[in-house]
Symmetry: C2
Subunit: 493 residues, 2 copies
C-alpha cells in the first residue's frame, strides 16, 4: 500500500487527533462507506486474533463452550424485560423488509414494499433476549444446569458519534451467557469472569485495572449488579475494559424460564452475562503508545521481533540472510514470532520507522560490519533504546527482553495511574481536580441524584465502587450524607 507521511500529531498537541492518526497510519482500521462501521485491517485484526485466542482459552479452561445464536432479534423480545428495553431498544438497526426489486426508472434497486416483515427484526445490540428465549427449551431440571455458553459475534448499536475501535456502530465482541440453579452460583460465576477479564487485561494487554461494581446509573440494563474493570488512558480519562453482570432472575422471569430444583419445586433460573469487545484495542493503543507510534505488549504483538538486513549488494544480503535464518530458527524454537524483512524496494531507515509505528517490540538490525564482529543491533520499542550485542546467545537475550518489555509497559502504566489517582474531600476541590484528569477517590452518598448532579456539573461519572482497597466510611462530598467507602470518579471514554 502506498504510504503517506508517517508523522503523527503529538499527544501533547492533540491527544484525540494523535489517536486517530495512529489507528490509520499503523494500518489498524479505517472508516468504511457505512456510517459508523469500521474496516478492521489485517494488522489490527491480527491483534484481535491474539486477544481472541487467549480469551477463548481462558473461557474454556473455566468450563465454557462456544455456541452461536441468531443475528436478529424479534422486536417484541426487547420489550419483555422492562429495564433492558430502556437501555437497548433505542438506537438500533431495524430490518423491516426482506426483498429488493429492480427499479426500471433508475436501473438500480428499490425496497419491495410487498416484502414487509410482519414483525420487524432488530440487529442484536446484545443477545440476552434471544438466548434466554432459547434457554427456555434447554432447561427443565437442576440437572440441566449450569449452562456455560459464550458467543463470538458482531453486534450493532446505532451510535451517533463514533470513533474507530472505541465506539462504532458495529463491533466484534464475545458475550458469555450462563444459567444457574442458585443465586450464589451465579454471583460466583459473575465474579469468576470479572477475574478472568482482569487477569487477561493485566497479564496479556499489560494494562492495570481496578475491579469494582457499577453504581445503579451505570449498570447494564436488566442487571441486578454490574461488575467492571476500569483502566486509565494516557490522557487521564477512564475506559471501561470489561463488564460482568449478575442478572438475577430478571431474564428468566421475562422469558419464563423455570427449572425443577433439588427440592422438586419450580424456580426461576439465575443468570449472568459478560463481555469484552474490539474496544479493548482502543484501550491497548491509548495505554501504551507514544508519539512515534504503537507500543504493543509482546504477548499480543502480531510478530514480536523483526529482523532488518543492512546491505550494499546481493552478496552481503546473502551473508546477512544466512545469519538471520539461524537467529529466526533459534527464536522460533523458543516460541517467539519473528519476521524477516528483506524487501528490496524499501530502505532500512524507512523500515525502522515503519516497525516503530507498528509497535513491533524488538528490532534486530544486521549489516556487514556486524557479521565481521559477530554482533547485532538490538532495539526495544518501549524505551527506544538501542544496543549492539554479541550474536552468540542473542535468542536468550531477546526472550528475556520480551519479558522485560511486557513487565515494563505494565509498570509504566501502573505508575502513571498511581500518579494520577488521588483522594479529594470537598466538592470544590473535586471541581478543580477533575479538570486535571485522572481518577478521583471521593465519598458519595450512594444516590443516583447526587451522581447525576456531579455528572451534569463536571462531566465526571462514578467509574466504579472498588472491590479492593480502602473501605473506610465517610461523608458525601456533595451532600454531607453518609458514605460507605470512597468511589472512583473520572471522565471517561
Amino acid at each position: 500500500m502506498a504510504k503517506e507521511l508517517k508523522e503523527l500529531t503529538p499527544r501533547a498537541e492533540n491527544y484525540s487527533q494523535w489517536y486517530n492518526d495512529l489507528v490509520i497510519k499503523a494500518d489498524l482500521a479505517e472508516n468504511s462507506a457505512v456510517r459508523g462501521c469500521m474496516v478492521i485491517k489485517p494488522y489490527g485484526y491480527s491483534i484481535w486474533e491474539k486477544m481472541h485466542d487467549e480469551l477463548d482459552r481462558m473461557f474454556k479452561e473455566t468450563g465454557h463452550s462456544n455456541a452461536y445464536f441468531p443475528l436478529f432479534i424479534p422486536k417484541s423480545f426487547l420489550s419483555r424485560e422492562a429495564e433492558h428495553v430502556e437501555g437497548f431498544a433505542k438506537e438500533c438497526a431495524v430490518v423491516t423488509h426482506y426483498r429488493l426489486k429492480a427499479d426500471h426508472a433508475t436501473g438500480g434497486v428499490v425496497v419491495d414494499p410487498a416484502a414487509k416483515l410482519e414483525e420487524e427484526l432488530i440487529v442484536r445490540p446484545t443477545s440476552e433476549t434471544i438466548i434466554w428465549n432459547t434457554y427456555k427449551n434447554w432447561i427443565q431440571s437442576y440437572r440441566d444446569l449450569p449452562i456455560l455458553c459464550n458467543q463470538w459475534a458482531n453486534v450493532v448499536r446505532w451510535e451517533m458519534r463514533t470513533r474507530l475501535f472505541l465506539r462504532t456502530a458495529e463491533f466484534l465482541w464475545q458475550e458469555g451467557h450462563t444459567a444457574h440453579a442458585t443465586r450464589e452460583e451465579a454471583v460466583a460465576e459473575t465474579e469468576r469472569m470479572l477475574n478472568v477479564y482482569a487477569d487477561f487485561v493485566e497479564n496479556f494487554m499489560a494494562i492495570p485495572v481496578i475491579k469494582g461494581i457499577k453504581s445503579p446509573n451505570e449498570r447494564f440494563a436488566g442487571a441486578v449488579e454490574t461488575y467492571c474493570i476500569e483502566a486509565m488512558m494516557q490522557d487521564g480519562k477512564a475506559l471501561q475494559a470489561g463488564t460482568s453482570h449478575f442478572l438475577g432472575q430478571n431474564f428468566a422471569k421475562a422469558f419464563d424460564v423455570t427449572f425443577i430444583n433439588r427440592e422438586n419445586k419450580p424456580e426461576y433460573v439465575w443468570a449472568t452475562s459478560w463481555g469484552v469487545s474490539t474496544r479493548l484495542i482502543g484501550a491497548l493503543i491509548m495505554t501504551h503508545s507514544d508519539d512515534n507510534g504503537l507500543v504493543l505488549p509482546p504477548k499480543l504483538a502480531p510478530f514480536q521481533v523483526v529482523i532488518v538486513p543492512i546491505y550494499k549488494n546481493a552478496e552481503q544480503l546473502a551473508q546477512v540472510s544466512e545469519k538471520a535464518d539461524a537467529i529466526m530458527a533459534a527464536l522460533r524454537a523458543r516460541g517467539i514470532s519473528v519476521k524477516y524483512d528483506d524487501n528490496d524496494t524499501k530502505k532500512p531507515g524507512w523500515k525502522f520507522a515503519e516497525y516503530e509505528l507498528k509497535g513491533v517490540p524488538v528490532r534486530l538490525a544486521m549489516g556487514a560490519r556486524d557479521l565481521e564482529q559477530g554482533t547485532v543491533e538490538v532495539f526495544r520499542r518501549d524505551t527506544l533504546e538501542k544496543e549492539t550485542l554479541p550474536l552468540d546467545g542473542i535468542d536468550a537475550h531477546v526472550a528475556t527482553l520480551l519479558d522485560d518489555i511486557q513487565k515494563n509497559i505494565f509498570k509504566k502504566a501502573a505508575d502513571y495511574r498511581a500518579a494520577n489517582t488521588r483522594p479529594v474531600d470537598s466538592y470544590e476541590e473535586f471541581k478543580v481536580e477533575i479538570e486535571k484528569g485522572g481518577f478521583l477517590l471521593a465519598h458519595w452518598d450512594g444516590t443516583p441524584e447526587t451522581e447525576e448532579r456531579i455528572k451534569a456539573e463536571t462531566k465526571a461519572t462514578i467509574r466504579c465502587i472498588p472491590l479492593e482497597g480502602d473501605k473506610t466510611p465517610g461523608t458525601c462530598m456533595v451532600t454531607g450524607r453518609p458514605s460507605k467507602q470512597r468511589v472512583i470518579f473520572a471522565r471517561s471514554y
Copy 2:
C-alpha cells in the same frame, strides 16, 4: 438437558427426516425464534471450530491474512455490478430505520418513523461490493498487490425454504477476497484455493470431491469463472462443498479500482473470491452418519475418544478411574483428545447410546473384570465393531485406530460415489437413471438452453465440468450437437 428418545428415523424410511432428527438429537443445532435462522449448539459449534482452525491455518500457510469488513452494504453498491445485483439483490434483509421508540398504547416498542435511513442498508449476503469499494483506497500501484484477505463472518440470504446447516437465512462462513496485478496470477489464486478446499474436505472431513468448473447457469453472480468441489451424499444427491471464483476485472470496473502496472500504465485490478460455510457441517453429517447417529472423522471430532467406567460401587469406580487417568495421560501425550464420563446419574448403556449418537470415533469401556484381566473394551463408531484388548499399549492401538477410521470412512464414501457414478449416452437413458440418484456423466452441447431444458424436465443440473478424468469429445445427449467432454449431472442440495 433433558433427553428425548434417541431413536432416529431410519435413512431408508425417510432420508430427509433422518437428517433433521439427527441434527436435533445429536445436539448440533436447532431452529430459532427467527424464521430461517438457526442456533448452533455447543456440540455443533465445536465441530465448526475444528473446521475453522484447520482452514484458517491453511489460508495463512498460503499467505492470506484475516480482516473484517462491515456487516452492512449500502443498497446502491449492489447495483454497481450488473450480474451481481441480479444474483444477490433479491432475497436479502433490508435495514430501513435506526431507532425504536416506546409505544404507549401497547407498552411495547415501535419503529420510529423519524429515524428512517436516507439510503437503506443491506445485511451482507456476500461482501464483494463493500470490499472492492474499500480496496479502491488501498491500491495505487502494482507494489500494493497482491492483497490476500480473508474474512470469517456471518451472512444473510433470505431463503424461503430453510434446513438446518444446509440452507439457512443466516449462516457462518469465510470469504476470501484477493486482488492481483495480472489475470494469470488471479487465475492461479482461484485454482490454489480450490485445491486448498479439496485438500481440507478430503483429508479432514473425509469426503471425496470432484473438482470442476460451473456451467454459466450455475456461475457466481459477477464471476468470469466459478470453480467448485462437488460431493455426493448418501441419498445420491450432490452437495456443492466450496466455490472459488475468478472475478476477472468485473468488480474493479464496477468500483473503479485501477493500479499503475509495471509498464507505468493504469489497469483495472484482477480479482478472486472463495468461500465455504457452515453448510459443510450438513455435508459432513450426510456423508458419513448412519441410523445410529453421527459418524465423525477423527480429525474433526470435538473429542476423539470417550472412556466409560463400569462399576458397582465407589471403590470399583476409584480403581477404574486410576487406570483411566493413566490411559488419558498416554492418549493426550499423543495429541489425542479424550473425555472421561464418570457421571453417576447415567447408566453405561445410556452413555454408549449417547456417544454413538454423537459420533465419538472410539469408545473405551472398563470394568472390574477388565482391571483383573488387564483389558479394555474398544468400540469403533464407524463399523460398530467391539473387541477386548490388553490395556498395555492401548494408546498406540487407539492412535492407529483413529487413523484407520479416518481412512475407512473416506474409502466408504469414495466407494459409494464410485458405485453411483455412471456414464449415460442418451437422454432417454438419462431420464431413467436420474431417478435412481447419483452422478451421471453425460455429453452436453455447452448451451444454457439445453441445461435449462434438462433441469426443467428432470430436476437435474450440471454440478460441474470436471477438471480431471476423461476429456473425450462426443455429442450432446439432448441436441446431438458437439460436446467437448462429459459433464456431471445430478440432483442437488
